[in-house]
């Protein structure tokens, strides 16, 4: 009797496990499927945007080659350089802003601390695009919307709001024990030295996280770049370029190259993301904990 019961429990568990694994496998296929499809499409030899077969019939590297050699209409290498320059500078500025603000809010006591945090929360509720037009007018009034100055404008845009995204880094700083700071102060450190010589070295994960998110923003943002660049095609970033390739006049000849470009952009970002996954989770759960 007992043995039979145990056996039935065992089969039940086996059935359960099989179902779970099959469902997981199906879901995993659904999730991975578009990614595989785009990789295959990037190697597709047949031209045109929409074809009547799901899988490519023959494979080629031409789409990648076209991306880097056919620079008359959509200059991919130039877009890449634009984005790289913008990313490097805005990353430096944004990282400084974020870390400075997070440290102040986490460690220093000052009058405007609470008001600042409330203000950040309120500002976060406004749709970001609402002020986009106004930002454009401000940049225009400052003469930053022509020629190479567009890059400066984009750098300022991407780094400008960094001081409001302090939650994750602040959550991390909050976890460093105060005793460390106090010991350093007793040893005669100024607070600046505590920040640069004690807190920052202890915060490598969050620095890596902040640097990477700041670095990635210009590669991913599309709307701001589009509004600020307008018709200046030599200042386009990667994101606008890829979007352009799908517009009616380009899609037929550029569709497979779009897939190639998407793959090229995704590889470094995917590697960065997979590496910093742990920090991302830590950061977010830190933020949830407050």
């Amino acid at each position: 009797m007992a043995a039979a019961k145990m056996k039935s429990a065992k089969t039940k568990r086996l059935i359960n496990n099989t179902i779970v694994h099959v469902v997981l496998a199906i879901l995993a296929v659904i999730w991975v499927f578009p990614i595989i499809w785009v990789v295959l499409t990037s190697f597709r030899a047949e031209k045109g945007s929409y074809v009547s077969t799901f899988l490519p019939q023959s494979y080629t590297l031409d789409n990648y080659i076209k991306l880097f050699t056919d620079i008359s209409i959509l200059n991919f290498p130039k877009m890449f350089m634009n984005t790289l320059i913008i990313a490097i500078f805005s990353c430096l500025i944004a990282t400084f802003y974020t870390l400075a603000v997070s440290y102040c809010l986490s460690r220093l006591k000052f009058k405007l601390r609470k008001p600042y945090m409330n203000m950040a929360m309120i500002l976060g509720l406004f749709p970001g695009f609402m002020s986009m037009v106004a930002v454009y007018f401000i940049l225009k009034a400052a003469g930053l919307t022509e020629g190479n100055m567009i890059r400066v404008a984009l750098i300022l845009c991407y780094s400008g709001g960094a001081g409001l995204g302090f939650q994750i880094a602040k959550g991390f700083f909050d976890t460093i024990p105060y005793a460390v700071d106090e010991a350093a102060i007793l040893d005669g450190c100024t607070k600046w030295q505590v920040f640069t010589k004690v807190t920052l070295p202890l915060s490598k994960p969050i620095i890596v996280y902040t640097v990477l998110t700041a670095f990635m923003a210009p590669w991913l943002d599309f709307i701001f770049a589009k509004v600020i660049c307008r018709a200046n095609s030599d200042q386009y970033t990667i994101a606008i370029g890829l979007w352009k390739m799908l517009e009616k006049e380009y899609i037929d000849s550029w569709y497979t190259s779009f897939a190639a470009g998407a793959v090229l952009i995704s590889i470094p970002i995917a590697i960065l993301f997979l590496c910093m996954q742990k920090y991302y989770v830590d950061g977010v759960s830190g933020a949830v904990k407050g």
Partner: protein, 458 residues
């Protein structure tokens, strides 16, 4: 009451602005007009001079431009652009008219600058009063070098917060105030008010709330869809992500890392790339329809109307949002799930609760308790979720040609279309303000009512 609060926050000091005006000596009072005078008299020469320089710079700016900007703010300019026949060159030349946008922008900037100046002015008074008190009591008055040094220690927050604050003021606060002002003007392509516009008070709000007009009815339908979308997008991701995380975390599930990797891979691809890919895949002749045709599930020429039928389009964006969002939820919830005390489950099992009951009685309440702030943030993010809608469906399909919004347009994408495509800046600004109000009220209410807030745990 106010006094009490001041004492509580621990920042009370005798060197306040009121005290400076009431009890300060003649030199302190004089620094109300001549900024920095008090500091200058009391051994803080450089500081005093700097304050004076700031005042001078502000006054020069106001006299040169500022007063002009402020005076124009009321009328927003009245000189129209004119076409003049240039006899010498035989062409029409445009004379420079007033540009209301720039007038408004400069006006708002001047007002902000003036507020900043008042703040600095208060600072000088306090500083002058402090210097006076210390000097009279024979205490040490900080030299300029010491003041600079204090920036690295006691006043480190000033050093570190100033640059980010300046950036936020210029790139977030100033544009926001500017746009809020626009909501009360007739800055719009309608009636040709792109160059010159005027204040119209609450006219735009009235137009939007008037449900008889096209604009009004569009607004209500877009608002309704936005809320439905935000609700489904948030909770479908949340529940589905949680179930997935639990299934992967189950003791008996093999190869946990592999499954997690499969799902996380899709959020490693930049979102706009994966959304654009999804869009092309779901076109009438896109990969999904081709696949279904090849499998023989639909006719050879048939295609599923993913973005052409309103209901299909709405369901599609929600489903795609699950595809995009669940990996993130999975990442974020895995850690929280592992923190649920195991004893709770053991006890429930002993009491004979089945898996469904355990989920609804233990897991869900616990998760809701811990992640309320996260849910609020996600909900807000979804109401403002521009990328998914714009990159996937561009708000299409548009069924009613007279209206400016499609069936999947959210308030934000509608706002974008109205401002960038249609140039109805004023209506766009009104929508932005209303979105903010809805979000702020919603966030405050849920936050206040959440257990985690009441018990002060989070």
């Amino acid at each position: 009451m106010l006094k009490l609060m001041k004492k509580e926050d621990g920042f009370s000091t005798p060197y306040t602005c009121m005290n400076a005006i009431k009890k300060g000596g003649i030199e302190t009072k004089l620094s109300m007009v001549l900024m920095g005078f008090g500091n200058f008299v009391h051994k803080q020469k450089i500081k005093g001079l700097l304050y004076l320089a700031v005042e001078a710079a502000y006054l020069v700016f106001m006299l040169m431009n500022g007063i002009g900007f402020l005076s124009m703010l009321g009328s927003l300019g009245s000189v129209p652009q004119k076409e003049v026949w240039d006899e010498a060159n035989q062409v029409y030349v445009y004379t420079q008219g007033d540009q209301s946008v720039l007038i408004l922008l400069y006006g708002v900037a001047t007002v902000l600058l003036t507020l900043l100046m008042i703040w600095v002015w208060r600072g000088t008074l306090k500083s002058a009063y402090k210097a006076e008190c210390l000097d009279k009591n024979g205490q040490h008055v900080n030299t300029f070098a010491e003041d600079l040094k204090s920036l690295l220690h006691e006043n480190l927050h000033r050093l570190l917060m100033t640059p980010p604050m300046a950036a936020i003021c210029i790139f977030t606060i100033l544009p926001l105030i500017f746009m809020i002002c626009m909501a009360f003007t007739n800055y719009s392509k309608i009636g040709n008010h792109l160059m010159l516009f005027d204040w119209v008070g609450l006219e735009n709000f009235k137009a939007l709330f008037d449900s008889n007009s096209i604009l009004g009815s569009t607004f209500w339908s877009v608002l309704g869809w936005t809320l439905i979308w935000a609700f489904f997008a948030t909770f479908s991701n949340y529940i589905f992500g949680m179930i997935l995380a639990m299934v992967i975390n189950r003791k008996d599930t093999k190869a946990k890392g592999f499954w997690r990797f499969c799902f996380v891979l899709s959020c490693a691809v930049p979102m706009f790339v994966s959304l654009l890919i999804m869009r092309t895949m779901l076109q009438p002749n896109g990969a999904v329809n081709v696949l279904l045709r090849n499998l023989g599930w639909i006719g050879a020429d048939a295609s599923l109307p993913f973005f052409t039928d309103p209901t299909w389009a709405r369901v599609t964006v929600i489903v795609i949002n699950i595809w995009v969002g669940v990996p993130y939820t999975l990442l974020q919830l895995t850690g929280v799930l592992q923190n649920i005390p195991e004893e709770l489950y053991e006890a429930a099992k002993v009491d004979g609760a089945n898996a469904v009951q355990r989920f609804f009685k233990i897991t869900l309440p616990y998760m809701l308790y811990v992640t309320t702030p996260y849910l609020i943030v996600t909900f807000t993010g979804n109401v403002n979720n521009f990328n998914i809608i714009y990159l996937l469906s561009v708000g299409d399909p548009v069924t009613d040609l007279a209206s400016t919004a499609g069936k999947t347009d959210l308030l934000v994408t509608w706002l974008y279309k109205l401002t960038i495509d249609k140039q109805y800046y004023n209506i766009g600004a009104v929508i932005g303000i209303l979105t903010f109000i809805i979000l702020a009220v919603g966030a405050l209410l849920t936050y206040r009512n959440s257990k985690s807030y009441k018990e002060g745990g989070i």
